[in-house]
Symmetry: C2
């Protein structure tokens, strides 16, 4: 049994412990099994413990809602509001009282820090709220994000030509840098701002499809760890002779002499 399996089981045990009224029907199913439904109603005036009852989403509508929400509260708010807000609308009170706007904080990898892409941060939060088995859905979404040319979804209301790029990473900073390279546009341009809105829509759209699949018992991961990262992990990850790191990210974007070293900076004193 891997440590991650223990972590997930511990987490589910914790959820069961503090949310005794919620049946964790999906928790013991195979990896990627269906989300659970609560068997008792939520306590009056408060939201049910996790996971909230899932309602099948319309991925196209969720993508459009994420694009519109991005214009109000940026990337993390965009995906979380589109996914969890769509479910909350169907569930009614008290779910609609959730303070969705708190997720503004994830904008630009947390208020411009360029760490985790806000659209992915919002999706992970949404998946945790709506799934009894969140890890495989998050893994699939994150691997897809770092390896596929995105955005692959075109919401209504776009003003600029969509320029897809492969982020190579789930982090905001490399994702934007790669798009700047592909588009020739600047990082603070109106085109970049819209690109992040369209990306938010694409990520929410994909996330809704994955959650629907899991809820319907049809979830099947389509992506795998890339061979180079697998080689690194053989030494550095759990059970390897060094075991001096923890990560599921692709290694290349940071650990690469070719693309991101300072070779071009020899004349600059850094």
């Amino acid at each position: 049994m891997s440590n991650r399996t223990i972590d997930r089981r511990q987490a589910l045990g914790f959820l069961a412990g503090i949310g005794g009224a919620v049946a964790l029907g999906g928790a013991t199913k195979a990896l990627g099994g269906a989300t659970s439904e609560p068997t008792t109603p939520a306590p009056k005036g408060t939201m049910a413990r996790l996971p909230w009852p899932y309602k099948t989403l319309d991925p196209e509508a969720v993508g459009q809602r994420a694009f519109d929400a991005y214009a109000k509260g940026h990337c993390m708010y965009g995906t979380f509001e589109a996914i969890v807000g769509s479910v909350a609308d169907k569930l009614g009170d008290p779910y609609k009282g959730f303070p969705f706007e708190m997720f503004i904080y994830g904008m630009g990898g947390v208020h411009g820090w360029g760490t985790l892409c806000g659209s992915l941060n919002g999706c992970a939060a949404a998946i945790q709220v709506l799934s009894a088995n969140p890890e495989p859905v998050i893994d699939e979404l994150y691997r897809w994000y770092q390896s596929v040319a995105l955005p692959d979804f075109a919401p209504k209301g776009m003003k600029f030509k969509n320029v897809p790029s492969v982020a190579g990473s789930p982090l905001c900073h490399p994702s934007i840098a790669k798009w700047c390279e592909a588009s020739g546009k600047k990082a603070y341009s109106p085109e970049r701002k819209e690109r992040c809105g369209v990306l938010t829509a694409a990520v929410a759209h994909k996330c809704a499809m994955l959650l629907n699949d899991q809820a319907a018992g049809k979830f099947a991961p389509a992506s795998a760890v890339d061979p180079r990262t697998k080689t690194c992990m053989g030494c550095h990850e759990k059970g390897g002779p060094m075991e001096n790191m923890r990560s599921k990210q692709a290694c290349a974007p940071c650990h690469s002499d070719e693309t991101l070293s300072l070779k071009g900076h020899q004349k600059i004193k850094l």
Copy 2:
């Protein structure tokens, strides 16, 4: 006016728009001004829109609570529950009905992905919930995290010797790698697990002090962008001749020929 200032103002305008019952008393104050207090009670059965009314925290108690919460729900849950849960306990219903356990998702940089350190992810969420001017508090906390030897706080219940290390980054993966280097312990060892719990306590402790300072009108950033990162930003960040990135992270941990390149791997085909 910087783009980030516009972003913040947009965000505050958005908050005011959807939370009309909440007085954003602190929003127009100078950078780092006091958090606001709502002038009207929360609608019955739902949580007040943001920010929630702040109550001065006991940083020592918050640090201990974060250590204890880590044992139940990992790093992101640890800081968020300790900070926002402490305020919610003082406010009573409906604040106590918030589904705190959703923040389990941030564990290990989001279910083991090694992206943003969960303790920082949880703090950013908490700061957004409790402050009308979150960005300067987040900036200060994140710069402190990446530049100071941590953990610098010792909760009750530690079993192992505390080995402080400088993460150099707000990301989980380099933070753990640097600690493995300093301690000589493995990334999946019981010592590493406890270290992340103690780090969670230290980050929550610091965050509570910063929030208290801001609420009391005494907030003054003590940290600054390091000179090397400033040099990089001169070309690559907003207004620079390249303007091909967005980030507030220190550049060195990833962009460094000395420490993290593949020079030692020439015999390995990657």
